[in-house]
Symmetry: C2
Subunit: 211 residues, 2 copies
Amino acid sequence: MNSIAPLDDERSGPPPLPLAGQAPPMRADAARNRARLLEAAARLVAERGADCLTMEAVATAASVGKGTVFRRFGDRTGLIMALLDRSERLYQEAFISGPPPLGPGAPPVRRLEAFGVATLRHLDAHRELLLSAEPEACRRLDFAPRHVRVAHVTALLREARAGGDTELLAESLVGYLDVALLHHLTQQRGMTLDRLEAGWQDLVARVARPA
Amino acid sequence: MNSIAPLDDERSGPPPLPLAGQAPPMRADAARNRARLLEAAARLVAERGADCLTMEAVATAASVGKGTVFRRFGDRTGLIMALLDRSERLYQEAFISGPPPLGPGAPPVRRLEAFGVATLRHLDAHRELLLSAEPEACRRLDFAPRHVRVAHVTALLREARAGGDTELLAESLVGYLDVALLHHLTQQRGMTLDRLEAGWQDLVARVARPA
């Protein structure tokens, strides 16, 4: 299972759930080096696009050996996940413990509506990086951030007493919040993000009401 | 846009929709050679699994040069699509012009139910090959057989007067009929195909009723 958490050699054992505030402390110099590599990587993406983000290019930009980049991030996907880590944590915090309607306190259907909109905007903001890091078909859905989304939607559907096979209904809803689908609909079929957000509200209204 | 139709050098211009009975005639010797290559490819998959299906392995098995295989099928995806061509045509014929409830003549919601079951079984039967031919994220959804499915589901939702943004509801339903999702749910999460089929019926009942 992939994890959104970066693959750090300073860290022992696999990270648990990719939630905010769970990273063990890192030595100060290791943290500084890591931050410097991520800064170089972010600059590369901003200047030349996600396609040009390679382990080699990051090593050159940060004036370190290629091996250092591989040791720090494992592979290109690990590097991209580390780049996305901060915004993924903020996004997860918002729906797990932030203010309503996205966070706890609002009715479940209202939270589902807000969750879809937040997710579509998160995917849209990082579309290029997420697309370029997408794993092959066999591993694509066995991916920590996606597990967190399915668990969240399942819990809200249960709370809304939607009935039916809640897990499969959640899979179906989360399938709408997919970066490749968003890319296809907005870039290849010319739909607006507003239209996708309205489509999500309609889908939730249909799926979440008791059968 | 990918097409399910094989890339034949005997054919001029891009093929139209990948429906049954539309392939232009092929010279007898070209057709024989193509059939021989496909036979070798099918044998390779049966004996060694989809992962071992390479252009080189097919050339060796059929005792021809690698260039012949590339000229005939374009690339590995083209080869796999040619292998899947016959069953894709039978599957498409069944829902476009076959007997009800899958084909015309049954009420639209009944046809949607039958369509999902037929598609899940089609995907399950060819899971390995379809997974190994899946294009990268940016092109994955811009794929002829998927366009045919979305158009079919859109038409049935309109006929059922489901209301809402019919195109987006169709995208969401077709998203459930995805080979990577089927693989994840059956192979990585241990769900049965029966459960997925029941989940589809429930999803259709919710999505197709007027909002």
